[in-house]
Symmetry: C2
Subunit: 401 residues, 2 copies
């Protein structure tokens, strides 16, 4: 009755049994009267195996050849899934990224989709076939194969859904949906029925790792309704959309922890206009993403600037600043973590922040930094306290509400 895009990740197609499991989900969706486009990743460890093959040859492969190599992974999985679908009586045809019309920019290994020419997909749908598309890959203007980088298959699925104006884009994973906290760490965590794009973006950025950020941005931009659900357990998942129906008056949608945080403090920065700008433009030139920034008055009328970045960028950040001469009194701390609460209704309700701080205080957890936006509050605390903090905040603001 509609047009549905379904995306399955590598673990969902890792072997024969999983492939047939996916085939049954797809065939049932098709049998129910829907047009179905399926986007799949490479099987299980295929991508890692291919990377290992390349590493045997050279430690510095050209990114063009890496893309040529890696794209073979999805070519295998689309062919196998199409065979499985055909064998259970559901007519299917597989299309590689370039056959499906994915046009990208030139950046090998992290290409951006420019557009999807859907002619071929549409003509196959008109013939009542399920179309099985290779995620993660496209073609640039040179007619070279490109790959989309991390989480690329999610992005492929949303891009197709947008181009085809699909009724829904279902992202099948090995979890049942988006949770209010990591269910492995917080026993009282519960699955959300709905979440807004903005909330999902904050949660994805904060390390909830359910959906890739680029795919959520794209879904928001083209208003593609997403559903995150399990390929193994056939229960309703979490719907991600522009405006949610908060019947329960749930203010907080999730509590997330991000342990990949380095806190860098630069002391004795001259207190003159432009000194912070110069510092952060130096970091930006080296593609270092800075997250939270705090500035305080230091000694001698100078100021102290503290910021956070990913731990992998910390060493480079310190080197870049030291080389400059003016910012050599600095210290980096990798023992911290960021804990955040996200919820679109937060801003219009007072007391959310104070409840969060109360939960931390009750558990004797010290707060190093605080950062707030319209729909989230983040604190930087010691990493050793982070799991306890998540549980305490979750129990106070989500579970017991």
């Amino acid at each position: 009755m509609g047009l549905i895009v379904q995306k399955f990740g590598g673990s969902s197609v890792r072997d024969r049994d999983r492939i047939f499991n996916v085939a049954r989900i797809v065939a049932n969706t098709h049998k129910a009267g829907n047009d179905v486009v399926v986007v799949v990743s490479a099987q299980g460890d295929t991508t890692d195996d291919l990377i290992a093959k390349a590493a045997e040859i050279t430690h510095d492969p050209s990114s063009r050849e890496m893309d040529q190599l890696l794209a073979s992974g999805e070519q295998i999985s689309i062919a196998l899934l199409s065979m499985a679908l055909n064998s259970i009586g559901c007519h299917a045809v597989s299309l590689t990224g370039w056959q499906a019309g994915f046009q990208t920019d030139r950046k090998y290994s992290k290409a951006r989709i420019r557009r999807v020419d859907t002619e071929r997909i549409q003509s196959e749908l008109e013939r009542n076939r399920v179309v099985v598309v290779a995620g993660f890959q496209g073609l640039n203007k040179l007619d070279d194969i490109t790959t989309l980088g991390r989480g690329g298959s999610d992005t492929s699925a949303v891009a197709i859904a947008a181009a085809l104006k699909a009724d829904r884009c279902q992202i099948y994973t090995d979890v049942e949906g988006v949770y209010t906290a990591d269910p492995r760490k917080v026993p009282s965590a519960r699955k959300l029925d709905e979440i807004t794009f903005d909330e999902m973006l904050e949660l994805a950025t904060l390390g909830a790792q359910v959906l890739n950020n680029r795919s959520v941005e794209l879904a928001k931009k083209y208003n593609v309704e997403l559903e995150v659900l399990s390929s193994l357990n056939p229960v309703p998942g979490t719907v991600v959309k522009e405006v949610t129906n908060d019947m329960e008056g749930m203010l907080i949608k999730g509590v997330a922890k991000d342990a990949d945080v380095s806190v860098i403090t630069v002391m004795d920065v001259p207190n003159v206009p432009g000194s912070s700008f110069k510092m952060f433009s130096l970091l930006a030139q080296r593609n270092i993403n800075v997250d939270i920034i705090l500035q305080s008055t230091g000694r001698n009328g100078n100021k102290d600037v503290t910021f956070t970045c990913a731990q992998g960028d910390a060493e480079l950040a310190c080197r870049v600043l030291k080389e400059q001469g003016r910012y050599d009194n600095l210290v980096a701390d990798n023992s911290c973590a960021k804990v955040s609460i996200v919820g679109a209704g937060m801003q219009s309700h007072s007391g959310v922040a104070s409840s969060m701080f109360e939960a931390l205080s009750n558990n004797h957890i010290n707060i190093h930094m605080i950062s707030t936006s319209e729909i989230k509050i983040s604190v930087i605390i010691e990493e050793k306290d982070a799991d306890l903090a998540v549980r305490a905040i979750h129990d106070m603001l989500v579970h017991n509400v």
Copy 2:
């Protein structure tokens, strides 16, 4: 100084060491001042592994999806070889079959090349890059990936050489060239410096298994000089060309055995015009290739017709003929083999046939059928006698000349 196409089979690129061995051969050819196009097959067992993956899914995969699946094999090997070439300082770029411009007909799994659009290859050569092309594959008019079937990479190499008017097409294998007989069976067998296309075609058909027949036919059609040589042992191989320089006056170029022979005798065929034609047109309709045909007068004024075909076709051939009603008195014999001598100079020299028969007679080997063409003589004998026959004929007509 020229343009050279080099083709390497799956065993030549089966692992890291072999890939670098190939890379060194290619880089040296390029360093010597040549433009080089390399055609490679899938690594070692990759194709078999992919076939096994498909067999886990279904025993009747669509040939379109099989081609989509199998083509990933060469995509892996071209990327790895290009990485290896780049890592030793030889600039290379990999192209899949469709990127290299291979256009084929629609027959999945055994497509025929229609033409090669060499624009992309030529523009890469102009940039002084070695071009590494995926053999065995192309694109049909539907923009679907096709594969060329058995020996397809040889055919790809010759087709590129023809389209680019290359100076030479080198086919690297794990043998050093074309031998006068199978060196594993005939100790006195020697490597030929040169052989004509026609001789090579007869030898290939007869089971010498060095070069695929389609590639030799194509090379003859477009007069592409071929060289068969070893990727492991850097000695001159065998050149295949239109006219050879027979300084030694060598009449016989090779003695070959083909054990895949079924001899089918149909008795009591009505001796009226057109009865043989009807019989063989029935077989042709079922794509059964008939090799030697003999006809003799049988009983009651009827005739007996004997023919040979591949053993895999024998059962179908018998069934087709029996179904027809008129040809139900028949018998198939799979215990035979065909032994042949090939040489372009044979026809102008008397005594070749009688020497062959003498060699067989000396060894008490009975001849069931005889067939001759301008450049070959074949006999059908008991398979158990075949190796002895090859040695005896080789010693009399090749080794002791």
